[in-house]
Amino acid sequence: MAIDERKIIEAVAGLGITGNDEGLIPAFGLYLTQHMADYYNRISFAMARRLEKTPELVDDARTLLVEAGHSCAFNTFGGIMKSAEWDAVVRPMLGCREDWVHGMTAVVNAFGWGRWKVRDLVPHHRLVVAVQDSYEAQGWLRDYPLSDRPRCYLANGGVAGLMNLLYVGDITTGPELSDAYYKQVFRSSDRFTSTEVLCRATGDPMCLFIAQRLP
């Protein structure tokens, strides 16, 4: 594999991503923030905990928050993979479609989300990603008792989204990231969904995600 993760992380870190004179961070065709993980965790977990008081809403809480992760993957990962920065740093390392997965996880590893590592990738079929130091799981463990269910909603949506961008849609052709395209990809009958099969928040040693097509 031609992907040099360390080089990608250094290149992204070297972009000096910080607010401009207007207090904004336009990069990768997006407006970025360097945000407080505690904020995301509190609002996500508080909503989940409140909805989970009603047994019928337990799945709804997870679905809503994972859908936010899908949106993140579509727009953020998609935007990055269409950006000039991607073309300059990552694209020269890409030899095949699967390299896009490894290239994107390398970029993610510069975002402070913890260490993402691709454990297994079966083209068109399956992606397994292990995450150490997930900010979601780590945040849960700091503030709440051990959970009876996984808590890495953003990462879960992100892993599925990565596969959907590459094997349901085709981000390699640079499509417009419109609402219509989102629905086409993320509402497709053969879309990928991800399951967090291990989570630090439940006491597991790491967080582990498996993305597969809908049965």
Binding site: T18, L24, Y31, T33, M36, M47, S71, C72, F111
Partner: protein, 172 residues
């Protein structure tokens, strides 16, 4: 006192400021999540939660930064908060009307407004929940006030067509 240097642990891929984790996210996720919380809890409850979460997260970050310079004045501390706000990409804030007894913050730019309008056009209600909590926390920390003494609201929001966002912070 610097706010624009994050520590990056290249072994674990962690970004930190003081002892707090910092993560990159873009306007799509920030605004989608904000709207998701509204969908899940209703607007009033979602607004209260996000302002409170912002205060909590901001206070811990600013407390560690302010602790490094105990001699800093109220004005110096607000300056640091403005720098943090801008370097993190939340927008450009003008705080000359903010005093230890409360006042107003004007957002010349706001990430949340730009993000909301880019995704969904004009809003039907103010959208700067995070900035309201941020500036309440900044005032509390700079003036040595307990957070319970503060109330804040967004008096006008550029997402609804105002020329700038006006945040009002009252000290009880």
């Amino acid at each position: 006192m610097s706010t624009d240097r994050l520590d990056f642990d290249s072994e674990r891929n962690l970004l930190t400021l003081g002892d707090r984790r910092v993560v990159f996210h873009c306007h799509h996720y920030n605004l989608f999540l904000q709207r998701t919380i509204e969908d899940g809890l209703g607007i009033q409850s979602a607004q209260s939660l996000q302002v409170a979460a912002s205060m909590e997260a901001t206070r811990s970050v600013l407390a560690s930064l302010y602790a490094r310079e105990p001699e800093a004045s109220f004005s110096d501390k607000l300056g640091l908060a403005r720098k943090l706000f801008g370097s993190f990409g939340f927008g450009q804030a003008e705080t000359s009307s903010l005093t230890p007894n409360g006042g107003a913050v004007r957002l010349i730019t706001s990430h949340y407004v730009i993000g909301w309008k880019a995704k969904w056009g004009a809003a039907e209600h103010p959208v700067c929940y995070f900035p309201v909590g941020f500036w309440m926390a900044a005032l509390a920390a700079a003036a040595g006030l307990t957070p319970e003494r503060l109330q804040g609201r967004e008096r006008s929001c550029a997402a609804l067509g105002a020329s700038a966002c006006e945040l009002e912070i009252e000290v009880l």
